[in-house]
């Protein structure tokens, strides 16, 4: 009897230990604990606010005041707001023009850097500097370069005899738009150039040699070798570029704050103005939420870019 009891106890202890050890080795259980810190951050400060933002856009919340549900009133108001549509136009113009030029110049710069150059490493390192320096700080430098009275650009052009009057870079509607677009291009080109350069270096030189022997011109070599092999990386880089240009805030806020007469308001700066400066959180949230469809479109582009890459490799890599 006693012996039997003893035996069953040992057996149970043995089983307990076993269960614990098994749990410790269970990948789902371990995975849960390993994921916990990252998941906590992302759920508390990313997923929850994302949902909350959509909810806020259906309320009349003000800064420091809970809102009540008002249906689509904010969207209704937004629909009739000319400034909102102006900001949409500006955002599309800004994103479209800046992305295309950034891509063209970035690709060109990548091709130049891919050549056999003296001091290659240093030149490539220098190219990245605009990307490293905080955007706000370089935007301030541009603000000074665009100063209506003491702009060095106006001064140089005047000395060259090209213009007689100072250019009002940030005071005139279209000047201001082109000026901020230029600053954005300046900031974005290095990133695109260096990532595309990394892609270019995976292209085997023997392909070019073979093409040259077959009599291909420079353009043909680019069009039929470089470009097809680079498409996957271009798809990804441009998705990121479009995404970050579309949601840009810093450059505009530092240089123009949306002015003159809302000519450079992007959707992000406009929502900041409505939500934080004027205190209409609900309206601001509605403007932010209106950006989501555009972002989804960009993500779809990225997704199909990746699909195409899979197809190009002809494999079924995960």
């Amino acid at each position: 009897m006693a012996i039997a009891l003893d035996q069953s106890r040992t057996k149970r202890e043995y089983r307990d230990v076993n269960a614990w050890t098994r749990l410790k080795a269970n990948s789902n259980w371990l995975g849960f604990w390993f994921m916990l810190p990252a998941a906590a951050f992302l759920i508390l400060f990313l997923a929850y606010p994302l949902g909350l933002g959509v909810w806020l856009s259906f309320t009349d919340a003000r800064l420091g005041r809970e809102g009540v549900f008002v249906g689509i009133e904010n969207y209704d108001f937004m629909w009739d707001d000319t400034v909102f549509w102006l900001s949409v136009f500006n955002t599309l113009l800004y994103t479209g023009v800046a992305s295309i030029i950034k891509f063209a110049v970035g690709l060109y710069l990548a091709l130049l850097l891919n050549e056999n150059l003296p001091f290659k490493a240093i030149i490539r390192a220098i190219v990245l500097i605009p990307f490293i320096v905080p955007t706000v700080l370089s935007a301030i430098a541009f603000w000074w370069l665009y100063d209506p009275q003491f702009s060095i650009i106006s001064w140089s052009l005047k000395k060259m005899g090209l213009i007689t009057q100072n250019i009002d870079f940030l005071g005139d509607v279209w000047n201001a738009r082109w000026s901020v677009i230029f600053a954005n291009i300046w900031r974005g080109v290095p990133f695109i150039a260096i990532t595309l350069l990394a892609g270019l270096q995976t292209v085997s030189p023997s392909l070019y040699e073979a093409a040259t022997i077959d009599g291909a011109t420079t353009w043909q070599r680019f069009r039929h070798i470089t470009y097809p092999l680079l498409t996957p990386i271009i798809a990804v880089v441009m998705t990121f570029s479009v995404l970050f240009t579309f949601t840009d805030f810093q450059l505009i806020w530092v240089m123009t704050r949306g002015g003159p007469v809302n000519a450079t308001h992007l959707m992000a700066t406009f929502s900041y103005q409505r939500a934080i400066m004027s205190g209409y959180l609900g309206e601001g949230a509605a403007i932010s939420t209106a950006m989501i469809p555009f972002l989804l479109a960009a993500i779809m582009v990225s997704w199909f870019g990746l699909q195409r890459r899979k197809w190009q490799q002809g494999g079924d890599n995960d």
Binding site: F34, P49, A121, I129, S138, I152, W186, T195, T212, L281
Partner: protein, 309 residues
């Protein structure tokens, strides 16, 4: 997702030094081009682009050491150079404004947020790549999507969240919200690094009785040091660069970070403000440029690593 491409992708060192892994001779086909031709098609455009890329920094540095009277008088003095540099703007900035406090705030927020994010990302990336729990792939995809959520659509609801949690106008508002930008990026980057570590090493350790934690700290992390450095400096740069959260969540001047403080507190009606503004912008970017100078390769690997996957 792209293992095949990643397998033959250039390493960051190669990207910088230009030796492609598949190139068997460094000169390539450039001998086919004559020097005058290279001058026009290569050196000239490259020179112009570099000049445009660097000019704002030169102008920034020059403005911050020019005496006031030369700043606004473009006719008497040559605007492109100064023979009488002054440290007035810099000393004014450092001793008469709260600039050192702002620098310290930025540093504190950046280091804490980066540290937290790296710890969380290492655990998450290891779990996704090596523990392979049920749904790991989906979680990996979700993290990539989280990377695509930009701060400019989050700051409005996040400001109410920060207010609810009682963090408003404290450094914790930034230390706890920045990881949402950093964790997706660094998890994605570290996943790539962890995948390159041979699985056999871990199997050996498992057979020898090591726990998962021991494997992570004794085997995987030491091997992933380059990846950790890349993730760390890139996160640090992103923190230093962040603007919209700091602008929205912080209202007291003594808690502000450098980018926000320069725009909101340093800009005043003074016509001679440009000197100190430029000095502020220059000193504010100096830590990152120094960091960059030491870790160029890691920056490049972080950038290309983020898009490679």
């Amino acid at each position: 997702m792209t293992d095949a491409l990643a397998g033959k992708a250039a390493t960051p060192r190669d990207v910088l030094s230009g030796t492609s892994p598949s190139a068997d001779h460094s000169e390539g086909m450039s001998y086919l081009q004559s020097l005058p031709r290279r001058l026009v098609t290569l050196y000239l455009p490259l020179g112009i682009i570099l000049l445009i890329l660097l000019f704002p920094f030169y102008w920034m540095a020059l403005t911050s050491i020019k005496p006031d009277e030369q700043l606004l008088d473009l006719e008497t003095y040559s605007p492109f150079w100064t023979w009488s540099p002054t440290l007035k703007h810099i000393t004014k900035l450092l001793f008469e404004t709260q600039y050192p406090t702002w620098l310290w705030n930025t540093m504190l927020v950046a280091v804490c947020a980066t540290g937290l994010s790296i710890i969380a990302s290492v655990l998450a990336a290891y779990a996704i790549v090596r523990l392979r729990y049920r749904g790991a792939q989906w979680v990996g995809g979700a993290i990539f999507l989280a990377y695509l959520v930009p701060p400019s659509i989050l700051f409005i609801p996040l400001s109410t969240v920060v207010y609810q949690y009682g963090l408003f106008d404290t450094p914790f508002a930034l230390i706890l919200t920045y990881p949402t930008i950093l964790i997706p990026f660094s998890t994605w980057l570290l996943m790539g690094y962890f995948k390159t570590i041979p699985f056999e090493l871990e199997e050996c350790a498992l057979i020898d009785g090591a726990s998962r934690w021991q494997i992570l700290t004794r085997i995987v992390l030491p091997l992933a040091v380059p990846g950790l450095i890349s993730a760390f400096i890139f996160c640090f740069t992103l923190c230093w660069n962040e603007f919209i959260y700091a602008l929205t969540f912080i209202s007291s001047t003594h808690y502000k970070t450098v980018p926000v403080a320069i725009v909101t507190a340093l800009v005043d009606g003074d016509i001679y403000r440009w000197g100190s503004l430029m000095a502020g912008a220059m000193i504010g970017s100096l830590p990152l440029v120094v960091l960059y100078a030491f870790f160029v390769e890691h920056y490049v690997s972080a950038m290309t690593g983020a898009v490679k996957e």
